[in-house]
């Protein structure tokens, strides 16, 4: 506690620091290089800590509005009643203990020329390198009828926290025999297998607690991550309960009416007892403000350093980045953060970062004792992060149940390991 309090420096002091441009390499000036990281999720918190580990002389400030981080991976198990939200929550005490200054604030502006970040209270933080790890924002209004007020009736639960609990409470309050509808968005979005893991664990809840109910997944796509594995498991575990409707069969939701919990498609209307709308998304707001998001709403980056292709000295990692073949996952965010931190340490020391290699592994639970996975290895190729040919793939389709059970155990182990590394 003591060390974390010490690290919570008064922002007023930082605000008086000079905003003058510092010629690079920063260490040649004798002053500590300053890196500001915006966003304390898997990407940002990992990067802040990896920077200190790569070179303890780097002064790192982590800008994060929330005192507690609520993790999305495994939040579908909270919705399905298998886990409590508190198991998803982490604080920044150990992060601060690494000598990282935690600025409990929202970043509201970035001046890429003056190299400074402005916080909501007006304080300015100067940087030599800025890392933006803002995660996602909901594209309110992109789906007609779905705004912030509608989300209180038809939760998205795509940022873990109160929305997660709201969806769980709605499922718990529903009478047996009700219709639950999930709307899944077009690519790209956070956690590609997430909607289908969620469908699985809601189906598991309904099967065990409300077996006369029905779950409909309305999808804006005709294909999705780990599709064959999910569909085989659904046939085995949830026959007649879970129905997936792809784009080509009228799955694309074109508007919603929150008051009646109605989802409208080109082919018809579905009135749900519980509706989970996973809406279109974009990079977190500060990315747009800083000028690092392109017209897609996401952020193009250099695949070696994760430096923005639109603004100098600003790096973007995690869900907000356009990371080529890498999915928007917590594992990928953590791997990108460590690569980016090593590259920044090199750049600040006047060196050239080497070409990196990154890994992703994502587990999904289809039932509490039934796990499946996708893994990939990535390297820069043609200005993008691309799959290493011949590597990666999903769990075997013909694996025995013992393998599914083992992957469910590994999924939980992964969560403990990664949250231990990032927040522990």
């Amino acid at each position: 506690m003591k060390s974390s309090r010490r690290a919570f420096l008064k922002l007023g002091v930082a605000a008086t620091a000079s905003t003058a441009l510092i010629p690079r390499p920063a260490f040649s000036q004798g002053a500590a290089a300053r890196v500001v990281v915006v966003g304390g999720g898997f990407a940002g918190a990992s990067c802040a800590r990896a920077l200190r580990q790569a070179d303890p002389r780097i002064a790192v400030t982590l800008v994060e509005a929330n005192a507690t981080f609520t993790a999305c991976p495994f939040s579908n198990a909270v919705i399905g009643g298998l886990r409590e939200l508190t198991a998803q929550q982490f604080t920044y005490e150990r992060v601060a203990a690494d000598g990282i200054v935690i600025a409990r604030a929202t970043a509201t502006a970035v001046d890429a020329q003056a190299r400074s970040v402005t916080l909501a209270d007006g304080a300015r933080l100067s940087y030599d390198r800025l890392v933006l790890a803002p995660g996602i924002d909901i594209r309110w209004g992109a789906l007609p009828g779905y705004d912030e007020a509608a989300a209180a009736q038809m939760p998205h639960a795509w940022k873990a926290g109160e929305q997660t609990l709201l969806l769980r409470r709605q499922l718990e309050a529903m009478d047996d025999g009700g219709l639950v509808v999930i709307s899944a968005p077009a690519n790209p979005f956070r956690c590609p297998p997430g909607p289908y893991e969620r469908a699985s664990l809601i189906a598991h809840y309904l099967k065990t607690k409300k077996p006369k109910s029905k779950l409909l997944v309305l999808d804006a796509k005709d294909a999705f991550s780990k599709q064959r594995l999910f569909q085989a498991a659904w046939t085995e575990l949830y026959p007649g309960l879970l129905e997936w409707v792809p784009l080509s069969r009228g799955g694309n939701v074109t508007s919603v009416d929150a008051a009646t919990r109605t989802l409208v498609t080109d082919f018809g209307r579905h009135q749900a007892k519980v509706a989970n709308v996973i809406p279109p998304q974009k990079a977190g707001r500060i990315a747009e403000v800083a000028g690092v998001a392109d017209r897609s709403g996401w952020c193009p980056i250099d695949p070696v350093t994760f430096e923005s292709k639109l603004q100098p000295a600003i790096h973007v990692i995690g869900d907000a980045a356009i990371a080529g073949a890498m999915p928007k996952s917590a594992f990928a965010a953590n791997a990108q953060a460590k690569t980016c931190a090593a590259a920044i340490a090199r750049l600040l020391a006047g060196g050239t970062p080497p070409s990196p290699k990154l890994i992703n592994t994502c587990y999904s639970l289809v039932a509490p004792d039934y796990g499946i996975s996708v893994a990939g290895v990535y390297q820069p190729s043609g200005g993008q992060l691309a799959d290493v040919p011949g590597s990666g793939g999903v769990s075997p389709t013909d694996a025995p149940r013992a393998t599914r059970a083992a992957e469910a155990v590994l999924a939980e182990a992964w969560f403990r390991t990664i949250t231990g590394e990032v927040f522990g």
């Binding site: 953590n334 690569t339 020391a349 590394e421």
Partner: protein, 96 residues
């Protein structure tokens, strides 16, 4: 002025050397997503820090060739060359 410049160059080269020795080789940093770096984490997945270099190399080669069954490591090992596996194994062998 000359002295200042020399001192500055010295600082740069020391910084580069420190970074180079501590920096994991390509691919190595991602392993700790599943293989715990911390001894405080309970996991059935092996810790890699301080493990014998030859043992890590053999495991990776066996996963890659299919001699050893894995859940995800068979798919991940196929993304690495012999040289990369050697460098990663050598680096982990020196970690605590």
């Amino acid at each position: 002025m000359v002295k200042v410049t020399a001192a500055a160059i010295g600082a740069i080269s020391i910084a580069a050397a420190v970074v180079a020795s501590a920096e994991p080789p390509a691919g190595a940093a991602a392993c700790s997503g599943c293989h715990p770096a911390s001894t405080r984490v309970t996991s059935p997945v092996t810790r890699l820090a301080g493990r014998d270099q030859a043992a890590i190399v053999k495991a990776m080669q066996d996963f890659r060739s299919g001699t050893r069954a894995g859940t995800v490591m068979d798919r991940i090992a196929k993304g690495f060359t012999d040289e990369e596996i050697q460098a990663i194994a050598a680096w982990y062998a020196t970690q605590k």
